[in-house]
Structures are given as C-alpha cells and as structure tokens.
C-alpha cells in the first residue's frame, strides 16, 4: 500500500530530507516534517544544564550510586556535589519488575540502618522448595546451596526502589521521573559529556505539534548508565567503545510476572518455590518462581531463556500453562490477579560482563549484567555496583582531573573485579552454559556437581559467541505448539492481562520501535517467511502482528507500539535483531506498582 507523500520543510536542505513515501504503520524511522516556511523547531539548539554527575535510570543501581555519592564527605562540605537522576517511567518504580528474593548484603553496606529507616524488607524467607514438574506430578529436589535463601527477604523491588529514592531525595539528589534520556552527548574527542532528553510533541506522522518541547541537555563530568538490562543508551555505549571485546555475547531470558492476592487464611508468607520441567520442552532453558509475601500476596512468574530454538515458543503462554499445574493452581485458586508485567533478565553471567567504564561514564547494574543466574538474584549486585561507582566518582571529583573530559573511572572497574560480585559470578559461571552443552538431565547433574562440590574451581570456562537471535531455528524444523485457551480464572488472555500492567503511551507520537534502516526487508522476507514471525509470539504485550489479506498473501508487520512494556525482548530476539528499541516520550510505558 502506497503511503502519503509529504513535502519537506524548505529550510531543511542541510538535513538532506527529500520526498519520501511513508508507510502508515511507522515502519520507517521517523522523518520530521513541518509546513513550508516554518523553521523546524528541531533545528533549535537545546537548553543545557550542568551537573557533577548524571545518572540515567532511577532503579536500585542508579539510586545507590546517587546515595553513595551524597553520603560522602565531599558532598557535605562547601558547595557539595550536584547529582541528577533521570528516569523514563512516570514515577520511580513504574518500570521496575523483579521476582524478588533479596539478599541484603549490599543494602547493609549502603544504608546500615535500613531497618530503623523502615526499608520495605518485611517478609523473611521461611521455606525453600524446588520441584521438577511433570504434567500432574512434582518431584521435590534437594535445594542447591545457591538457592538457599536463609537470611534473605521476599520483597517488591519496586517498593524498595521507591524507598531508595526517598532516601536519595533527602540527601539532595535531584530525581526527575517522566524524562527519557534519548541521546548520549559526545565531545569532539569522542568522550561522553552527558545526555539529552527526548524531544516531545511530535505527531505520529512526524509533524511538529503545538505542544512541541525540545529536549534538554544534561551535561556532567561523569554519566552513569543504570538503565537495566539491554538499556538503549548502554547498548550504544557498548557498541561505540567496543566494551564487549574479548567477552561473550550477552544472552537473556524473558521473565513474565503476575502478582496475586489470595485468601489470607491460605497464605504462607515466606515461601520460596522454584520449578523446572513442565510445561516447557526440555530443550529450552526455562523455569518458574513463586514467592509468597505478607500479608496475602503471591508473586509468581516464568522465565524462558531467549536462546530458545523453536520459533513458535511464547513465554507468556508457557507461563499461563504452568499456572494450571496442581501445585500452583492450589495456591492461586480463589485469588485475584492484580498486576502483570514482563522484562528481560541477563543470563550471560561472568563471561558476558563488558568492560565497565568508557571515557566520561560507566555502566551500572543490569546495564552491565551482574545477575547470578544460579541464585536467580541480581539486585544485590546492582546495588553493590552503584556503591562502587559512587565511591569511584567521589574519588574522581576530589582529584585534580575534573576539568578534563573523558576520564574513565578505573577504580570502579578494579573494585568490582576484586569484590564479592565478581567472585560470586565467577563461581557459577559454567552453570547456565552447561544447559545448551549437555541437555536437560545432564545439566541438572552438572549443576549439582558445580554447586555442591566444584563451586567454579574447575579450570574450564564455557563460552558463548552466538547471539540469542541467531539461535532461533527455522519454522519448518520445529513443531507447532498448541497452547490451551485461557480459562479467565487462573490463566488469562494476553490483552486482558496487559491492562493490569497499566501500560500506556500517548497515541499521537511516532513509534519508538523502529525497524533498522538496513534491515527494512527482514520482517516480511526473513522473519515471517522463514521463522513464522517469532516476535508475534514472544512479545508479552502483543505489539507485533503480521497482517495478511484474507487468503494469507501480502503479509505486513504492524507495530502496536502503544502496548509496549519496555521489556526489550524484540531488540534481542527478532531475526537479525531487526528492531531498534528507542525511548518513547517520557512518562509512558508500564505503571507497575508493587512489582
């Protein structure tokens, strides 16, 4: 279908814009247009503000770094230190999604009196259970040392993050939710000197609206990227500075989570249950979690490794199917699902950690990738990385070099390498890769060997050089999967569930999910033709749909960007990674509460 042709703005000659056919479904990257004779507001220079430190992402890692900096002696004397945190979610916590069983080791270091300050760590773990499931049965397995949770807490990471933001604001950190950092600012020598927030007020067709507001530049001596897994600016920095040189390709899992309210008389707060096996076939790395939190909340979810081969897999549907297992159903029956969400999690472990610093900035938390997949925990490492980055920043600000651009926080890198984070991750480094190497049952035995006896002391390190997208098998080589219909009580249809995430984006803006310039033909010619359009199956928000004529011909990709949960799976698992994930207008996306 031919789209509408648009005139280019007369004054935009230097941008090289010409008449372009625009397909109506935001297929192409956005070109901006405006009426003849009016200067394109995007030509205006941006207003600029200066800070000592700018932190992108108001999650545990970013806020811990901010708190660490403001707690230092340097921040309390003289003019102090100016720290700014920008967060694309509408509020702090809106985009936080995690199981979560929390190890307070790093919090004890950051804020030793967290108990007196009423941090929301209220449910201590009282029981650990681990099952190998079959369709109706459940074989209890011994709990490996990595999954023993004595001394840990079942929490809502979103609530903890909100609490951290309150601590940070009291210390004078400036936190701005609702602002999406869309661009890294570079100096002439190529070092990072800050970020710019996204222009807002552009219509779906690329027209400048009355409400157009230019983004602003936040310039800083150090820019800390704490965007979480597969952060958009973080990936740009990793690529530009080749931070993955000599390291493994990062691999990911997609975690889908629901929060349920159940009858208080049936509730068992403190229960931690993990399962493997049914329903996902044994060639796919997957498992579930179910945690019970006070007073009557069940936090449950399913994680599917994105290195799966069968292109028909739908992590969301696997999750819905799993809930029907007797062991799970008995807990959820009669309860009410109150929240839904999804987010990717790093699975590459020790081998995939990139170099952490670049000229003018650093990667924190899951943006780097410190999740311990054997323990299924990463928030304690994220907070620790925030602490170390904070310490390194203070050292830098106290030094003589602050007038020079492009300084790298070398102490941050060395401190992390010498910390318990790297030690912990090194110990479990071979466990996740063993799955693909050995197959399901041998993997279980090998994991037992590693966690009980070897503890990473073997001289070998299993490597992974193939991206998750390249591991997808062709449609013709894999069986179709028939998922059961939702019953509306235990399992739900995706769009009904999606409402429970509160996700919303203003309709009249260009799609933030962009097909890469050089891969324009991939969706129809490769993804749909050879793989059956896996994005239409893995997306936990039904953003991607292939629409055809009645007879099945003429397929085209439709991107319903408004549904997006910001999980980032599409930037990882679309064939050839044909989607580039960019930030939409700030304040959009999920509105998670208590996730």
């Amino acid at each position: 279908m031919l789209g509408v042709t648009r005139r280019a703005c007369g004054r935009l000659g230097h941008r090289g814009l010409t008449l372009t056919r625009v397909r109506p479904n935001n297929y192409f990257p956005v070109r901006y247009f405006c009426d003849e004779g009016i200067q394109d507001p995007r030509d205006q220079p941006r207003e600029s503000m200066e800070y000592d430190v700018v932190i992108v992402g108001g999650g545990p890692a970013g806020l811990s770094a901010a708190i660490q900096i403001m707690n230092s002696g340097l921040a309390k004397e003289g003019e102090g230190v100016s720290v700014c945190v920008v967060e694309k979610g509408a509020e702090i916590g809106s985009h936080i999604l995690s199981g979560n069983v929390f190890d307070p080791i790093a919090l004890n270091e950051l804020i030793p009196d967290w108990r007196e300050k009423e941090a929301p760590l209220n449910t201590s773990v009282s029981q650990d259970k681990f099952y190998l499931l079959s369709e109706t049965g459940a074989i209890p397995c011994p709990i490996p040392p990595t999954l023993q949770n004595h001394g840990n807490y079942i929490i809502s990471l979103g609530d903890l993050t909100k609490w951290l933001s309150e601590q940070a604001e009291e210390l004078g950190v400036e936190i701005y939710p609702g602002f999406a950092a869309s661009e890294l600012l570079y100096d002439k020598d190529g070092s990072v000197v800050g970020i710019a927030t996204r222009d807002v007020g552009i219509s779906k067709q690329g027209q400048v609206k009355d409400t157009f507001t230019r983004g602003i530049e936040l310039r800083a001596k150090q820019t800390l990227l704490a965007e979480g897994a597969r952060g958009s600016l973080s990936e740009e920095a990793i690529e530009k500075y080749d931070l993955r040189k000599g390291k493994d390709v990062q691999s990911y899992g997609l975690g889908v989570k629901e929060v349920w309210e159940i009858d208080e008389s049936k509730a068992k707060p403190g229960l931690v249950m993990h399962t493997v096996g049914w329903p996902t076939p044994k060639d796919t790395y997957a498992g579930s979690f179910l945690y019970q939190m006070e007073p009557n909340l069940v936090l449950c979810g399913y994680v599917v490794g994105l290195d799966y081969q069968n292109p028909n897999i739908s992590p969301y549907q696997e999750f819905q199917k799993w809930k029907h297992h007797p062991k799970v159903k008995e807990m959820l029956e009669g309860g009410r699902c109150v929240s839904y969400g999804a987010r990717v999690i790093n699975e590459g472990g020790y081998q995939a950690i990139p170099k952490l610093t670049f000229p003018g900035g650093a990667l924190l938390g899951c943006a780097a990738g410190f999740v311990n997949i054997a323990r299924i925990k990463g928030s304690h490492c994220a907070i620790k990385s925030g602490i170390e980055a904070g310490k390194a920043v203070v050292e830098f600000l106290e030094s003589e070099n602050t007038q020079v651009n492009g300084i790298e926080l070398k102490t941050y890198q060395t401190q992390m390498e010498n910390s318990w984070v790297f030690e912990e991750l090194k110990q479990v480094r071979n466990i996740h890769p063993a799955f693909k190497k050995f197959g399901f049952y041998m993997f279980m035995l090998y994991s037992a060997l590693e966690t009980f006896i070897l503890k990473g002391r073997g001289w070998w390190t299993f490597r992974n050089t193939i991206s998750d997208a390249d591991k997808t098998g062709k449609l013709k080589d894999h069986p179709a999967i028939e998922y059961p219909k939702p019953d509306g009580k235990i399992s739900f249809d995706l769009l009904t569930n999606l409402q429970r995430s509160g996700t919303y984006h203003d309709d009249d803006q260009p799609s933030h999910l962009v097909v890469k310039d050089h891969l324009q033909s991939v969706p129809v010619d490769v993804s749909y033709a050879e793989y059956g359009g896996p994005e239409s199956k893995f997306c936990p928000a039904k953003v991607y749909e292939y629409i055809t004529e009645d007879d099945g011909s003429n397929p085209r990709l439709q991107i319903n960007a408004q549904n997006c949960l910001h999980c980032k799976t599409c930037s990882i698992k679309t064939p050839k990674e044909f989607i580039r994930w960019t930030v939409p207008e700030g304040g959009g996306g999920p509105q998670y509460s208590g996730m």
């Binding site: 509020e91 809106s94 701005y176 602002f179 609206k209 409400t211 602003i216 409402q499 509105q591 509460s593």
Partner: protein, 266 residues
C-alpha cells in the same frame, strides 16, 4: 451575610480591562486516568495505596488555559490552589512548572475522593478567593474520581458570580469575556462579566509538557500552606459512602447462527 454570598456589585467591563487580571486555578490530585482502579477489600473505598496519582486532566486543561492567557498578556498572574494531603504539593509543583506563579496548599486529612465533598470544597475555595482576589476562577468541569461536576457551579453560587461551565472556548477581548460551552444540544456561546467562574471541558486546549528546566525553577516558586481548620469552614461530610463495588462482570456474549435464531432469542 448568609452562606458567605458576595455583594452582587459587578465590576464594569472597562475596569476589568484596566485592572491586572489575576486568575485562580483550582487543581485536584486524583488517581491517574490510566490506572486500573481496584476496590479495597473492605469495600469502603477505592484502593489508593501505591496507586499512581496525577493532576486531574480537566484541571490540567484549566491550568493550560490560564497560562496561555498570561502569555497573551491578558492575565498578569496565575495562582494555583489545591486542597488535599501533603502529597498534593507535588501536584502544585507540577502546576508551578507548567506556568503558575504561586501556589496555595490547603491541607486536610479528609479523603479527597469521598470525604471532602463539593459543597465543602466550594466553601473553602470561596475563602481562598477572598484572600487571592482574582478576576477569574478556572477549574476543571469535574474530577475523574468523584465525577460530581458540582464544585465550580457551587462556588459561583456562593460568591454570587456568573458562571460558564463545560467551556470549549474562552475569548477575552477588551475586558469582555465570551465563553462557548459544550451542551447536550450543541454549542452555546455566552457573554460574561468578570469576576466569574469558568469550568473547562476537554476540547478547550491540549496541555503542554512541563519542561525539565521549568520543573527545576518551580521548586523555588512560592507555596503557601493553610490548614483547612484555619479557614473556619465546616467541612464535615454530609454524604456517607455506604459501599464501593466493582461494576458487574460482563456476561459472555453468545454467538448465534442466523438471523432467525437471534430473533428467537430476543
């Protein structure tokens, strides 16, 4: 004077043109419009704990109109007022970031969606009007939590001022104000003298985004706090909410095979 009614002397049109026009905008902190609201287990109210709250969308429109009037130099000052708990200050800071010059926070522990009811709100706003002395009060047509659509009308009645509700267009020229209202039968345009109360409807304007520099500057703008008890108004709720329930579950539809079957079922 009974019910605090204003003396019905009108300022002549001409004098309004010469005097600097001050606009009072009343804004309310409500559950964000995109949130999927849940009922509390005890059915006494809606669950507000951990729920995202924002400025009422119609109040945003009213505020945007006030700021535009200031930019057109028709108004000289915009004062924002909100009645609510401590967190209402965030809503007022947003109002300051959009362009209000000054904010007044009337603190109360009453739940703004249930216990603080329109008549009491209107009376308290009447006291604020006495203090601020505006020529125009702009408000949203209704709040999206209680959906009463009463406060603006009651305020005008108590003050004895003219009112224009559901405004989709406001024109102020040479001191004369004409307002186009959206009514069931179409559009109705009326002329008002000032001071007046106008409540704003959806199509009046599209509110702007608060920019980051303006949010930062808003922290320094003045905000006064008044305790609701100190206004002297009796705000005891006169209506009691007996219970709050979710709407009935939608019954599953039934597919019929033919027109005859449908007729039979009907």
């Amino acid at each position: 004077r009974p019910c605090g009614a204003r003396c019905p002397i009108r300022r002549p049109f001409l004098r309004a043109a010469v005097a600097a026009m001050r606009i009072l905008v009343a804004v309310k902190r409500v559950v964000d419009y995109a949130v999927k609201v849940r009922v509390r287990a005890d059915k006494a109210a809606v669950e507000l704990k951990n729920t995202k709250m924002s400025m009422n969308p119609f109040c945003e429109i009213a505020l945007e109109e006030a700021v535009r009037l200031k930019e057109k130099k028709i108004a000289s000052e915009v004062v924002a007022v909100s009645i609510g708990p401590k967190e209402a200050q965030e809503t007022l800071r947003t109002a300051l970031a959009i362009g209000a010059d000054k904010a007044i926070h009337v603190t109360t522990t009453l739940r703004p969606d249930q216990e603080l009811q329109p008549l009491a709100t209107a009376k308290v706003l009447g006291k604020v009007v006495d203090q601020v002395d505006p020529s125009l009060v702009l408000m949203g047509k209704q709040s999206i939590d209680s959906d009463a659509s009463q406060t603006g009308q009651m305020l005008a009645g108590l003050l004895g001022w003219p009112q224009a509700t559901f405004a989709s267009e406001i024109e102020i020229q040479d001191g004369a104000m004409s307002v186009t209202r959206e009514v069931d039968s179409g559009l109705s345009t009326i002329k008002l003298s000032t001071p007046a109360v106008v409540t704003c409807d959806l199509r009046l304007n599209e509110p702007r985004y608060a920019t980051l520099p303006n949010i930062m500057k808003a922290r320094k703008k003045p905000m006064d706090t008044i305790k609701i008890e100190d206004t002297g108004v009796d705000v005891t709720p006169r209506l009691k909410v007996l219970s709050v329930e979710e709407p009935a579950q939608r019954q599953a539809g039934e597919k019929v095979g033919s027109v005859e079957e449908l007729v039979e079922k009907l």
